[in-house]
């Protein structure tokens, strides 16, 4: 159709221009000064809005930093164009189509849910617009060259945490709370189970819950009845908090271990003491992460929102930094195609709060692993064997 021809023409002219520029100016130059718009499909409302807002705020911090420090080039500024999907796939698809056809949009970023990422990726490909996925953890989402992901695939961190727990706590009887309707969380739990069982611990219970559940008295009773000395809770955020609360309320005093869903400060405000001392693994945490970039990010976030950023904010931040980094390598009038190629070829994200974020074929690799827990005063510290 027409669209295709138009973009072919732009592509050709872009190639000509690049060639021409390449001949005229072999030395690297920044892209033309001016404002470039980034389309962000957010989850500011809907069932996972709490995480969605963190991603959004992290992205806002990145834009401010990039614009003030000129990280995307001299005189180059970015502006976010936000469309809230409410975590509804149809709305996300409409938003992506609008971004794709809006010539003012240079790149896009999206998606906590893998389902939505899968739905918008083909649109990014067919509209030839770079899409940086944050949040969604399903494997093989990136597609050369337009779709990239700044989310490391889950697994290695859980394995690292499980190895340490098995070595230090030497659990004998372990109960697992699994997600019955989230395959990624289920896979993470299975990865942990494999490591823990290898250390000689027996699995005494596997209890399945659903993401929309709210009452966990039954599962908690069932879990405690097997008298475990370690309980693994690997589910989405609301159930995780609910299960831990129910376990503690029913008087379970053994060790519980869970995932980074526990890290947002809002969760501590909600649950307080109930969740103190429970280890979880992640790559970024204010108070623990101390790289220069992390500190700068935390300070800026704190100044802006009067709160500490969580791991989700860090990912939103990184998605934009990744785009800026790609943009910086271009010169002249940047095109979507050149930007996509530059981003696909990136081997690490320079400005990141993790202390290093390797990239490979558009897919982020697992950075460092921090095993942390909440303290009574509402801080997150490195976890120590109690």
């Amino acid at each position: 159709m027409n669209m295709l021809e138009t973009s072919k023409r732009t592509l050709l002219s872009a190639v000509y221009m690049a060639v021409a520029l390449g001949i005229a100016a072999p030395a690297h130059a920044d892209p033309d000064a001016g404002e470039y718009r980034i389309g962000m499909i957010s989850d500011d409302s809907g069932p996972i809005a709490s995480a969605g807002q963190s991603y959004h705020q992290g992205a806002d911090i990145a834009v401010a930093e990039i614009n003030s420090k000129g990280l995307a080039g001299e005189g180059v500024t970015l502006a976010l164009d936000i469309k809230d999907s409410g975590s509804d796939a149809a709305r996300a698809v409409q938003a992506m189509t609008q971004f794709g056809s809006d010539r003012g949009i240079l790149a896009t970023t999206c998606c906590i849910l893998s389902a939505i990422a899968a739905a918008v990726s083909p649109i990014a490909m067919s509209n030839e617009v770079p899409l940086v996925i944050y949040g969604a953890t399903r494997a093989s989402l990136p597609q050369e060259p337009y779709v990239t992901s700044v989310v490391a695939l889950p697994g290695p961190q859980e394995v690292a945490m499980s190895e340490r727990l098995a070595a230090e706590l030497k659990p004998q009887k372990v109960a697992y709370f699994l997600s019955g309707d989230n395959d990624i969380f289920k896979a993470r739990a299975m990865a942990m189970k494999e490591v823990i069982e290898k250390s000689g611990a027996a699995t005494v219970a596997e209890i399945s819950t659903l993401s929309a559940d709210t009452d966990f008295t039954g599962p908690a009773t069932q879990g405690i009845a097997t008298d475990p000395d370690l309980i693994v809770v690997m589910t989405t955020q609301q159930p995780t908090v609910g299960i831990i609360t129910a376990l503690r309320q029913r008087g379970y005093e053994g060790t519980i271990v869970t995932s980074e869903v526990l890290s947002p400060p809002a969760i501590f405000k909600k649950s307080g003491e109930t969740i103190t001392g429970i280890p979880f693994a992640l790559s970024f945490q204010p108070g623990v992460s101390d790289s220069e970039a992390a500190v700068a990010f935390i300070d800026a976030y704190k100044a802006q929102y009067n709160a500490l950023p969580d791991v989700y904010a860090a990912q939103g931040y990184m998605a934009i930094q990744f785009i800026a980094q790609g943009l910086k390598t271009l010169s002249g009038k940047p095109t979507r195609q050149d930007l996509a190629k530059a981003m696909w070829g990136t081997s690490d994200i320079a400005v990141n709060p993790y202390g290093g974020q390797p990239m490979e074929s558009g897919q982020a690799r697992t950075p460092n692993t921090l095993i942390v827990n909440w303290t009574k005063d509402g801080e997150v510290k490195l976890w120590e064997k109690p």
Binding site: A49, D215, K270
Partner: protein, 295 residues
């Protein structure tokens, strides 16, 4: 044995919430002929109002419950008067009221999402009875006892109101035939307002108590209750409060045991298949009256 008994209590408590929520849903359907999908939003709002009153004003828990119940009732009355009242006397049937209630579901849920910033909150554990009661063989959370007692009291009270009082007779009459109700001498307007308020208030009570017990105050709280409460009402019989209470509790028990002994994934399926079976094979429910049909 201890596990079995504890799970039984868990089931009864969970089912009580469904029942408490379902009472008002069924009452509105039987009396006013409205299939009100916004009924869940009353529970969400009641829980949110209760939480805010604790979080911002530090009121004690019983006061927070009262605020939630009152809030739920008032919202229900407002919805009824804005949305359902104009439809009465028009030939829109169930469809009109259903659409209006979808509109209110969208509006109230969106507003609740804004009010809570789309996050889930919880009553601080120090602000409500979050301890355990030791009954020797088993230990039960205090909230479960409160929920079960509240359901029995509300169910009994509303049953007595409907069966034993003049206004209750008028409520039943409206369900059967609006003209007959007018003849009974009770102002139908009062019957409507009272029914709406009772429905909102019981939904609100279920919302606040459920929100506290499960540490989950969110704009989506009502949605889960709505589907299960709906099932309880259908299985119990639309025009019978006792049926709703018994069916709700049975559903709760079934859910807990199906999840424990079979699988969580079949738990919801079990409930809904039961629901469909009753709709197709025994539409008047376990205890509904033989001739009851909403015209």
């Amino acid at each position: 044995m201890t596990l079995f008994l504890e799970q039984l209590v868990n089931g009864i408590s969970l089912g009580s919430l469904y029942a408490l929520f379902g009472i008002g849903f069924g009452l509105v359907f039987a009396t006013l002929g409205v299939l009100n999908v916004a009924h869940g939003a009353y529970a969400s709002w009641a829980a949110i109002l209760g939480y805010f009153s604790v979080d911002y004003f530090g009121v004690p828990f019983p006061a927070a419950v009262a605020i939630g119940v009152l809030g739920g009732g008032l919202i229900a009355v407002t919805v009824d008067q804005i949305g359902f009242q104009p439809l009465r006397g028009r030939k829109t049937g169930m469809l009109g009221a259903l659409i209006t209630s979808i509109a209110f579901l969208i509006i109230l849920d969106s507003l609740a999402g804004m009010a809570t910033n789309h996050q889930s909150w919880a009553f601080p554990s120090s602000s409500f009875p979050s301890g355990m009661v030791d009954l020797g063989l088993i230990r039960i959370p205090e909230m479960q006892i409160i929920i079960i007692v509240a359901t029995l009291v509300c169910g009994g009270g509303i049953y007595a109101l409907i069966q034993k009082t003049g206004i209750g007779a008028a409520m039943r009459a409206v369900g059967w035939n609006a003209e007959a109700a007018a003849l009974s001498g009770v102002n139908p307007r009062i019957v409507i307002l009272l029914t709406a308020f009772l429905a909102g208030a019981t939904s609100g009570l279920a919302g606040v108590l459920g929100g506290a017990a499960t540490s989950n105050i969110s704009y989506m709280l009502g949605e889960g209750l709505l589907l299960k409460g709906f099932a309880a009402v259908v299985v119990g019989g639309f025009d019978d409060v006792r049926g709703t209470v018994i069916a709700g509790i049975l559903l709760g028990i079934c859910e807990v045991f199906v999840a424990q002994y079979l699988s969580t994934t079949y738990r919801d399926g079990f409930t809904y298949v039961l629901l469909l079976t009753f709709l197709v094979a025994r539409p008047r429910g376990l205890f509904g009256s033989r001739d009851f049909m909403r015209a």
